[in-house]
């Protein structure tokens, strides 16, 4: 175990974290990622030593005979005995290669084994990939307690989370490096990924399989909360959208249900029930909008609604022509949907 910590600490200086939440394989925050970071460290050290040894031998081979030759020099004769002895050394090196490679295969196999050994009843979350956003559905034993959200996964600390991965259009890949390795979301196939967050925090994840023009802006965050906070948050998500607190928000709700918005988006408790885009019932409770593109503020909501193609060119949200008042109202309303 000391060795394990040593190896991880060697790599740690490389694991710079950003304010968007950690997104680094070298900054593990859960047992899966920790075991993978250890594996990366172990492979790096073994392979590094082998590489160094080969380079040293090449260096010695070059320098041991002083005086470089010229092309015109007569070719050297071979000494059969010497060639045989060199053959033995080469054979030994090959055998050493076999041993090292076998060893690495074995530790790799053991690591795979440890990844699947999760304990406890997992929280099951369905994650569905769309061009270029994520639909997140929290399941429950009782079907009326299913909650649909988008672009953010909240998980309780210490409890395993099983993601059931599917794709609506093309292949995507879910990767939250600080917590686990990646797993693809493939149309027509069902995959799953189990991980546990050990500490509360925000961990950034990103689509890792090229999925079209906005592949670069298909991120999400995993927010790990203490179990009681998580339970309270989930209860909040079960509720319908907040009722407008003032006139401007009420006008915004009219815009959102009357204009084209409702054709694609759902806002529970209002007439808006479209299913092509993210569920907006609690959009303001999420850290980011447009799949990790902008932080959720009233200003960024307004900017996004006013010109989605300018913010994220090629994405599927069209620009809906709104007057200045309508835009102000609808962004106020969106910002109120905590």
């Amino acid at each position: 175990m000391r060795l394990r910590h040593l190896i991880v600490s060697v790599l740690l200086p490389l694991a710079a974290g950003g304010c968007a939440g950690s997104q680094s394989a070298l900054d593990p925050q859960g047992p899966n990622a920790a075991s993978l970071a250890w594996l990366i460290g172990a492979f790096t050290i073994v392979c590094g030593i082998v590489w160094l040894l080969v380079m040293i031998v090449v260096g010695v081979a070059l320098l041991r005979r002083r005086g470089a030759a010229e092309p015109a020099d007569t070719p050297l004769a071979e000494d059969p005995g010497r060639e045989r002895r060199k053959g033995a050394v080469v054979l030994a090196a090959v055998l050493a290669t076999v041993v090292i490679v076998t060893g690495l295969t074995v530790i790799s196999y053991l690591a795979t084994h440890s990844l699947t050994a999760a304990s406890g009843e997992p929280l099951v979350v369905r994650l569905r990939g769309y061009q270029w956003w994520w639909e997140v559905t929290y399941t429950s034993p009782s079907p009326d307690r299913f909650v649909t959200s988008a672009n953010e996964i909240r998980v309780p600390v210490g409890r395993p989370v099983r993601l059931e991965l599917s794709a609506a259009d093309v292949i995507h890949s879910f990767w939250v490096p600080s917590l686990a390795g990646k797993q693809d979301l493939i149309p027509g196939r069902d995959n799953q990924l189990t991980f546990t967050a050990e500490r509360p925090g925000i961990y950034r994840a990103q689509c890792a399989e090229f999925c079209g023009v906005q592949h670069a802006r298909m991120a999400l965050v995993v927010v790990a909360l203490p179990p009681d906070e998580f339970a309270a948050w989930l209860d909040g998500q079960l509720r319908d959208a907040a009722t407008p607190a003032n006139e401007e928000e009420a006008a915004g709700r009219e815009v959102a249900s009357g204009k084209a918005c409702a054709a694609c988006h759902t806002i529970r408790g209002t007439p808006a029930a479209g299913t092509l885009g993210p569920d907006l019932t609690h959009v303001a409770s999420r850290q980011t909008i447009a799949a990790g593109t902008l932080p959720t503020t009233r200003g960024s909501l307004a900017a996004w609604i006013a010109d989605p193609q300018g913010v994220k060119p090629g994405n599927k949200m069209p620009m809906v022509p709104l007057s200045a008042d309508e835009l102000r109202a609808v962004s106020a309303y969106m910002a109120s949907l905590k």
């Binding site: 694991a15 950003g18 968007a20 997104q23 680094s24 394989a25 990622a33 990366i40 492979f43 590489w51 080969v54 380079m55 031998v57 090449v58 070059l62 041991r64 005086g67 030759a69 092309p71 020099d73 070719p75 050297l76 071979e78 010497r82 060199k86 053959g87 080469v90 090196a93 090959v94 076999v98 490679v101 076998t102 690495l104 295969t105 790799s108 196999y109 690591a111 795979t112 990844l115 259009d169 093309v170 292949i171 990767w175 490096p177 390795g181 990646k182 797993q183 693809d184 027509g188 196939r189 990103q206 890792a208 399989e209 090229f210 023009v213 592949h215 802006r217 990790g292 060119p313 090629g314």
Partner: protein
């Protein structure tokens, strides 16, 4: 049997007359149509090499564009659509239009010379291959210039490349470009196999074949077994897109992962199709620069064959994150690790060669040393990505981008550049500059490592590949800037290389027959070689013919001067069996390539093009094979 002029043999006249008559028989006619009609493997090989390097230059510019875009977070140099075209073009261009063709091009030029024959087997097929390759390259680049460049990644995963998510013709152009380049590559593979099997100089038994030729033989077999997979794949994709088949449509019983299996069943061997010729170049160049034969000839041959076989058992390691059954994944981890063993054998044999040699520090040798440093590192990261759990963290990240550039540039392009410096005097007749060569090797070696090593770290820090930008609050900015600046150094090295290659063709010092005092047969003839390669066919008595016969070369005589005649020898022992003819120049391969191109490009727009397009193809093929009553038709 009638109308044949005097059946003149090279035994009946003096040496000058032999050379004059042979030159008359084998020469390529002057003028435009003569150039189109030529079937001389040297002229076609030279064209092939130059074209491939032009594509390298273009692909390198695309690489620089990407680095410009990624130098800073939220870069605005290219938009997302253009960036996606650019990285797809970069990958597709480098793999399909540069790396594979350039290795085959070197073989087209060198293999006939190295085995001591006068032309490649099926020279007209060779001409056809070049035209088809050129057409495929033009298709891709013209489409890109018209903003119709593919934007689906070089491995074109469905459904992103399928009918629903890739409207327009971009994906069709990508898939059809693959058809072009695979036809060209398969044709060359057939030629190489038959040349090596049947056209080796008398006495060149299996254990005397130069190692580059062995490498190309193994490579050709890999090509023939792997490339049909991508042909099946790209054809199915085009059918899905054009006539509504459902190979990759899960809603109708198709499967998305089928594409990945087909692609990587080709795509992984593809890496060895690029890498094995490079190892052959190392093995063939090394003796001249350490002044002794290579150590472990048999071990090197066997390890190449082993790599060839194992290369077909690795494809799933590109699919470790797709959720395949665990048992299968473990098998592919083991087989991917296992390939480190034959690769290791090669490295150890080369080091053993160095150990007792006397190094000659010339540019080709510098590239060999750069290869050791870089390729072994790439091999180490290869061992890392072979591990399933480790791969789940680095797959599709910049770590993998770093890994395969280390393997492909370090493992294949460095030996290739060394090979250009080494064989340039044979091909052009003049030496490249040794002074510039050192700068080229230094800039490329240092620039490459500075540009690509940090990508390992970026990948581990979470940066996925194929992103057109990243946000400022992610910690990747400084390293990306460093990478982008270093790529300029790498580019400067390549620029200098191109300058040296162009300049030396006019003003380099004359090379002489054998400037490096190398031991293999291509150095026995003049530089550049005459159209007939060898006035008399060499007779081989050992693995290093020119070192074993330093004073005079044993040769065979008795070949006719009035027809293009080559010697056919037996497969294992290279015992002469026949004086076979080699075809004359012909325009038909060009017409066949042109009509085939019309058919293939037409089929992007209408499936009926396959029907009406096949008529001119058939006419061209009949014209090609219809006997013309020349002396070559005699039997």
């Amino acid at each position: 049997m009638t109308g044949i002029p005097h059946d003149l043999r090279d035994t009946e006249v003096d040496r000058d007359t032999v050379e004059r008559r042979l030159a008359e028989t084998w020469r390529t006619r002057r003028g435009f149509w003569g150039a189109i009609a030529t079937v001389d493997h040297k002229i076609i090989g030279r064209r092939y090499i130059v074209t491939a390097f032009v594509f390298l230059l273009l692909g390198g510019v695309l690489g620089l564009l990407m680095r410009w875009q990624l130098a800073t977070p939220e870069g605005r140099a290219l938009g997302p659509d253009l960036y996606n075209q650019v990285f797809t073009m970069h990958g597709a261009n480098m793999m399909f239009l540069f790396a594979v063709p350039v290795m085959e091009a070197m073989a087209v030029y060198l293999v006939p010379l190295m085995v001591g024959t006068r032309n490649i087997a099926f020279p007209r097929l060779n001409a056809f291959s070049y035209w088809i390759y050129l057409a495929g390259g033009l298709l891709l680049w013209v489409a890109f210039a018209l903003d119709m460049g593919p934007d689906i990644g070089w491995f074109g995963y469905v459904p992103l490349s399928g009918p629903q998510y890739a409207p327009g013709k971009r994906a069709d152009i990508w898939a059809q470009m693959i058809t072009f380049t695979e036809i060209a590559a398969l044709a060359v593979a057939v030629e190489i196999v038959v040349t090596v099997f049947k056209q080796r100089a008398p006495g060149m038994t299996l254990d005397r074949i130069p190692l580059f030729v062995w490498a190309m033989l193994v490579t050709s077999f890999i090509v023939m077994l792997a490339m049909p997979a991508i042909m099946v794949g790209s054809t199915s994709l085009i059918l899905d897109r054009l006539v509504g088949t459902h190979f990759f449509n899960p809603a109708e019983g198709g499967d998305v992962l089928l594409w990945q299996h087909l692609f990587w069943f080709f795509g992984h061997p593809e890496v060895y199709i690029i890498f094995l010729p490079a190892t052959g170049m190392i093995s063939s160049m090394l003796p001249a620069f350490v002044r002794r034969p290579v150590f472990g000839y048999l071990a090197l041959v066997l390890s190449m064959v082993t790599i060839g076989i194992l290369s077909f058992g690795l494809w799933v390691h590109h699919m470790f994150t797709t959720g395949l059954p665990r048992l299968g994944e473990s098998f592919f981890t083991a087989s991917s690790m296992a390939i480190a063993v034959p690769a290791g054998v090669q490295i150890f044999c080369w080091i053993a060669t160095l150990w007792d040699g006397r190094p000659v520090f010339r540019t080709p040798f510098l590239f060999i040393l750069a290869f050791f440093f870089t390729f072994v590192l790439g091999g180490m990261t290869g061992v890392m990505v072979a591990s399933v759990p480790l791969d789940t963290q680095v797959h599709d990240t910049y770590f993998v981008v770093a890994h395969f550039h280390y393997v492909l540039i370090g493992g294949a392009v460095f030996p290739l550049l060394g090979a250009v410096y080494y064989w340039y005097p044979k091909i052009v007749g003049r030496m490249m500059s040794e002074r510039l060569g050192r700068w080229v090797a230094g800039l490329i070696f240092v620039g490459f490592n500075l540009a690509f090593f940090p990508m390992h770290i970026l990948g581990l820090q979470g940066m996925p590949r194929r992103v057109y930008t990243y946000q400022a609050d992610l910690p990747w900015g400084p390293l990306n800037m460093f990478v982008s600046l270093s790529s300029l150094m790498l580019a400067a090295g390549f620029l200098l290389f191109f300058i040296d290659a162009v300049r030396s063709a006019r003003s380099g010092p004359p090379a002489g027959d054998n400037p490096w005092d190398s031991p293999s047969l291509e150095w026995a003839t003049t530089s550049p070689p005459p159209p007939y390669n060898f006035a008399r066919i060499p007779v081989v008595t050992g693995p290093s013919p020119l070192w074993e016969n330093r004073d005079e070369l044993p040769v065979a005589s008795g070949l006719r001067l009035d027809r293009r005649e080559i010697v056919i020898t037996s497969v294992a022992d290279a015992v002469p069996e026949a004086r076979e003819s080699s075809p004359r120049d012909s325009l038909w391969p060009f017409w066949a390539a042109l009509t085939t191109s019309v058919l293939l490009i037409g089929s992007i727009f209408s499936p009926w093009a396959v029907v009406w397009g096949s008529i001119p193809v058939a006419i061209a093929l009949i014209g090609w094979f219809w006997p013309k009553g020349t002396p070559e038709d005699e039997a």
